[in-house]
Amino acid sequence: MRTFRFSRKNLSIPYVIFLAVFVVIPLFVLVYYAFTDRDGHVSLRNFIGFFTDPNTLGTLFYSIVIALTTTLVCLAIAYPTAYILAKSRVKRKSAMLLVFILPMWINFSLRITALKEILTVLEENIAYYPFLNAVIGMTYDFLPFMILPIYTTISRLDPSLIEAAKDLGANDVDAFFKITLPLSVPGIVSGVAMVFLPAMTNYVVLDMLYNSTYIMGSLIGSYFAAYNWNGGSLIALILLLLICVFTYLTRNLEDEDQRAGGGALL
């Protein structure tokens, strides 16, 4: 008679099932839909359609511009904030950090609706500034994702590195540009990854701001709304490939436990 021996391998079973059902199979479905037409025949029509249609290409370009602007604005706000926060001698640093994370604990739609009201007051008619409002909305939503990894990286920097630079003749400005900034690149890369890609796809923010502009996410949404699974899947696949390329290009810059550190704070 064989007795059941519980080994460590058994522990992985739930995860394997989870991965299969929610990651691997959907991925295959995505690829399948992207390369088939409405009748289920293998075809490159979706693919050719996307890259020949000036509207979809325009949307891709516009998404990149929006995402890029959002990322740069986030970075411009987040880096100094994270730097000051990490370097400050305030005793309750985590409380300070919380102030920046707190909006994330408030319901998303409430947050964006509130933003919309503020923008309406300021701009009279929010329809006049679609690009500006898209960037403001995205920045508001994604800023914590930029602050956290940069904060984590800077606060983990060994202070003796800065001292060593000063010891070797660098003044404060030199020490910042030669030591602190290059060594916080992993945090910046993590932050960019967490802001840039969602900014290309998170059209819900725009919808809720009654924004008339179209980004990649909106495109997928509209295809799916029209039950065009094939077209939507293709765009999703293109975004997926973009993520892969970005991750590949920055693989050396990212810090192993960077995300874990940032995640723990969330």
Partner: protein
């Protein structure tokens, strides 16, 4: 004038007080000669690193002056000081290769690339890491990283090289090798080294001069030989090598009584002076009981490779001896110390120290009498477990048999009584000195100890007295 010129750096009345009022360094004075190897030695928290950081410019003194070759550099930022530091954990720049790390200081000086290349090669040769220019920091072992850190500092040809416990992270064998190499580097380069360590052996091996520090204050400054052979006070004696330290009194010309025996010594200290006597374990000679000045029984023998460490109990004193011959636990032995090997220090504070026991009930006992205090009160964070055992603040069990508590009490807190049975301990007055407004007595107790007692009234020599020692005036320290 010539004297002044020889000093590369002078620290005058340096004090560093932190915002919370804690004084990390108090009135620190030091003159370092050009080319000297000076070591700051002391336990952690003694202020040695803070002092080093003030020399480097990372920290500013609250009071005092730092002069570099006669120039006041007290508030100069670190990048304007011709001083370089080797950091405790190396602090190599991880995003630069070895070449760039070493070239960092030279680039700040806007040196020509050809010159930089030549200097980097030369300094890599000096630390025995030729050809490492292109390597990444992370591919280097701890020892190699340390050498690069030294090279990175030395390449700038600093007036002074500061080293903050640079060998702390290395294993023993590596540490020994680096000690010798650092010393050789110092001798061949002629650069002034200021070295910080808590390792007394390291300090003794490498230094020209040692500054022993404790609680922000200089305890002694001297050559390694001076510090080892003639410690100025009990702290230095205890910190530099193991020592037997006894309270005692001078009882005649070059005669001292401590540890229940009368010893001849070489220090001419006035009769009646309270003293601290220090005897190194290797200077305790074990003899037959008849030949020794004092006697005791062996309570432990530990083999240490080169020698045996033998602990002997004599009266209430414990003496540690080092011998190439073993001994048997329980044997009664005699002990002799050569007059040359007894170091007499005039006791500045006359605090009485004595050992108290923890009994099986976790009560404190002295001289077979219960003290009215509980163990949990004197060991911070300790508490009784439900099963009756005692644990300390870290949750570790305290074994009463293996734990010793040193109690201390000031002379003015002890009072004498004719009713000897009322005292915690009894003894006879073996010495008295008139101190202007009071008398200072030495009581030789039944436990062969000398306790110092201050009293405003005159008692007679050889009076038999009881000593009343209130528990609330005692302080306690746990030794394991």
């Amino acid at each position: 004038m010539q004297e002044k010129k020889d000093n590369i750096i002078e620290l005058r009345h340096i004090t560093r007080r932190f915002e919370d009022g804690f004084e990390a360094v108090s009135d620190f004075n030091l003159e370092v000669k050009r080319g000297e190897f000076v070591t700051f030695l002391g336990p952690s928290g003694c202020g040695k690193t803070t002092t080093l950081r003030m020399i480097a410019g990372f920290d500013l003194p609250t009071d005092g002056q730092i002069l570099l070759e006669g120039r006041d550099i007290t508030s100069l930022p670190p990048y304007e000081r011709p001083i370089n530091t080797v950091f405790q954990r190396y602090a190599l720049f991880p995003h630069m290769n070895i070449y760039e790390n070493i070239a960092f200081g030279l680039r700040q000086k806007k040196m020509k690339e050809a010159e930089i290349k030549r200097k980097v090669e030369k300094v890599l040769d000096l630390v025995d890491l030729e050809g490492f220019e292109g390597r990444a920091v992370t591919t280097l072992s701890g020892g190699q990283q340390q050498r690069i850190a030294i090279a990175r500092a030395l390449v700038n040809e600093p007036a002074i090289l500061l080293l903050d416990e640079p060998l702390g992270a290395l294993d023993l064998k590596m540490r020994k090798e680096m000690q010798i190499e650092l010393k050789q580097m110092h001798d061949s380069l002629g650069i002034t080294f200021i070295y910080v360590t808590h390792d007394q052996e390291e300090a003794l091996t490498m230094s020209d001069r040692i500054v022993v520090m404790s609680e922000g204050k200089t305890q002694q400054i001297g050559t390694p030989e001076d510090i080892y052979n003639e410690p100025k006070n009990a702290f230095v004696a205890d910190f530099i090598g193991e020592s037997n330290i006894f309270n005692g009194i001078m009882i005649g010309k070059m005669k001292a009584r401590f540890c229940g025996g009368e010893f001849t010594c070489v220090d001419d200290v006035e009769e009646g002076t309270h003293i601290t006597a220090v005897v190194r374990p290797e200077d305790v000679e074990i003899t037959s009981p008849e030949k020794g000045i004092i006697r005791g029984h062996v309570i432990s023998v530990i083999f240490k490779g080169m020698h045996y460490e033998i602990t002997i109990e004599s009266g209430r004193n414990e003496i540690v001896a080092r011998s190439v011959h073993t001994a048997t636990v329980g044997d009664v032995v005699g002990m002799y110390v050569d007059p040359d090997n007894i170091h007499i220090m005039i006791a500045e504070d006359h605090t009485n120290y004595f050992t108290v026991d923890i009994n099986s009930e976790y009560r404190l006992e002295f001289n077979g009498k219960m003290l009215d205090t509980s163990v949990t009160k004197i060991i911070p964070g300790s508490r009784r477990q439900p099963d009756g055992t005692l644990v300390d603040g870290h949750g570790e069990t305290i074994d009463p048999a293996r734990t010793k508590i040193t109690a201390s009490i000031e002379p003015q807190d002890i009072s004498m009584t004719d009713k000897v049975e009322e005292g915690l301990i009894e003894g006879y007055i073996s010495n008295l000195i008139y101190k202007g407004d009071h008398y200072s007595y030495v009581i030789h107790t039944d436990l062969e100890q000398d306790l110092v007692v201050d009293d405003e009234y005159l008692w007679n020599m050889d009076d038999h007295v009881g000593l009343i020692m209130p528990v609330e005036k005692m302080s306690f320290k746990l030794n394991r």
